[in-house]
Symmetry: C2
């Protein structure tokens, strides 16, 4: 393999695929980045066997071929290279010369034959989503998933595609986030995609570029012009979310999103100081023309926040985990939200006042 | 105590003195910030008994008095407060109400009488230095000091003031940084100031404002209009730096600072990968019209950098710890430096080509 490329293309390719390199690996080759030089194009690949990333960039290929280079050292080196043409040439024993001007570094590489083959996914079952919409949808749902790998379904996001468009649902069983969007598609399927994968895809794609999503039996493929991300799908039965979302409420509160968020942030600071309380309990009192927040950490102090609100229905006192409220208030861009409640022991609903396609369900905490 | 102040003044005062609060303290009161309300001014104080910071800001005092509030929680709370007038009022038992609009937080404070009294330093022995000059001088010298508290002298910076101005000297015995500047003063003294103190002062002062430095028997005081920083002085005998700085050299290399820095950065990446080598050894070869850098990490690869240089005197091969070179090249703003050497086993000197008042001495590594 013998190529000439510029620094920015090299950095782009390496940094893009590097996100798939696992820090803890039993197979040394997975610490590496596969570089394939085709005609006038180089392709970078990396995988941790859960997710694989492929990135194409420009280069002048003098001699086609491939090599695997250690991800961390190679990744840091390219960032520090001068901004002049960079020559990369493999020698025998997979040693690779990186030459820049009068200087050069030789890196011990690995046999590219030993690099795992990334699965091929046909693009038959395909849907296209604008980049900025995809990012916004993922951002609003990924907040509700679990990090507990022992229950894999709840680390995933149910991706429900049908004639109405795309629905994303995430839940850790304490709260649930639902986001839909009408998108023209003939595709009809329900798959659980790892939340980590969707978060990675969100970070890698541009706002301006659409992302194509294709499905295979156990795999999902995300594609933009230069980048492909392949991930496994999570097998299992996702809970029936329609069943848990209440259709009625006895109290409806309309409140300023930012004022509510900032008050919850202050309340969170205090409950965090309360070493006896792992559940971050804050109490909401809804009555008259105000929503009142109380939290208490006996050793440190207590907090009383009063926010103007437009309230319909019954007065209510209800307790929530402050972190679950924070998570959702941070991803709502609308100025006002509805908080809809049905008694102190039933789940509450938060949704933006002018955005019909997002809903967040949150279980209350039973307090004495 | 009863005051009204705005958010930005409160945040400024708290964040300024918070830098003196130790994270590991046996005395709970030292986790606190002392707030003193005088006539139309509030004064914030914090100390870890090594360094004390005092900051004055504006406030409307309704009732003079003082209180100690827990630094971490209070500090995070003020950052999250709305940008409206904030009322702070102490009650019995040192409980303190922070009221903002219709909301309020009450914090359990401490008895201000228990807060340690910060020493008073008379401003007799005083020198004034422009803020930007002070910062630049400290930045160039603090790189050379030790972090090893077992040898306190080498964690300090010798501050040598006389009719020629100010000289700062720092050394960890492997390298030494010397920086001087002519400043009009009648003061004549030599004291070892903790490097940490000088670094903190640099972070707290403005470029545009002069800083006054006054000395007492065991203390030093730094002052700007709103901020005072008091620190202990380190007792002991600082090595005679004039004796270790060589006055001759047999090789003089003039080289581009940035090109040298970037090559050393790449070399550092590689030697860091070399698990057998804790000394970060890189080899410089000086001959003809080039300075050549070689480094080698057998498991990972090897590097060969060739930089154009203007060389006078003998050819030489010499090895250094790459970190010691990096440290100094990052704090030199001049385009070119001199590297002056006297054989492979004698200390080398690095100094900017057009800046006479800075010098860095570095011991070579004996390699086989």
């Amino acid at each position: 393999m013998k190529i000439i490329c510029n620094k920015s293309d090299l950095v782009y390719g390496v940094q893009t695929v590097q996100r798939a390199v696992s820090t803890k690996n039993t197979m040394p080759i997975l610490d590496g980045i596969l570089i394939e030089a085709n005609d006038n194009k180089i392709v970078f690949k990396a995988t941790n066997l859960e997710i694989g990333i492929i990135c194409s960039t420009n280069a002048k290929t003098i001699e086609t071929g491939s090599i695997v280079l250690p991800s961390r050292y190679f990744g840091e080196l390219v960032k520090k290279l001068p901004d002049i043409p960079i020559h990369i040439e493999t020698n025998e024993n997979y040693s690779t010369n990186i030459t820049y001007g009068e200087s050069s570094t030789s890196i011990n590489g690995y046999n590219p034959e030993e690099f795992p083959v990334l699965p091929h996914i046909s693009s038959n079952k395909l849907i296209k989503i604008p980049g900025d919409l995809f990012k916004n949808m993922v951002k609003q749902v990924v907040i509700a998933i679990s990090r507990d790998e022992a229950r894999p379904i709840f680390t995933g996001i149910l991706t429900d595609i049908g004639s109405n468009g795309v629905k994303l649902i995430g839940t850790d069983t304490h709260r649930l986030a639902y986001r839909s969007n009408t998108i023209q598609t003939k595709l009809e399927m329900k798959e659980i995609i790892p939340g980590k994968t969707l978060a990675e895809v969100s970070k890698l794609i541009d706002n301006e570029e659409p992302v194509s999503i294709s499905f295979d039996k156990n795999q999902v493929l995300f594609q933009t012009e230069n980048i492909s991300i392949i991930s496994r799908i999570i097998n299992g039965q996702f809970p029936d979310y329609n069943q848990v979302i209440p259709s009625n409420y006895s109290t409806n509160v309309r409140i300023d999103t930012k004022a509510f968020l900032q008050a919850i942030e202050r309340a969170s600071l205090l409950v965090r100081e309360n070493s006896q309380d792992k559940a971050n309990v804050i109490k909401l009192s809804i009555s008259g023309e105000h929503l009142t927040i109380n939290s208490n950490a006996p050793d440190v102090g207590r907090l009383h926040e009063k926010i103007p609100a437009f309230i319909e229905g019954e007065d209510i006192i209800i307790s929530f985990n402050s972190r679950y409220l924070l998570d959702v208030l941070k991803v709502i861009d609308e100025e006002e939200i509805y908080l809809q409640l049905t008694g102190s022991l039933s789940p509450g609903i938060i949704k933006p006042v002018n955005q019909d396609n997002f809903l967040y369900l949150i279980l209350p905490i039973r307090t004495v």
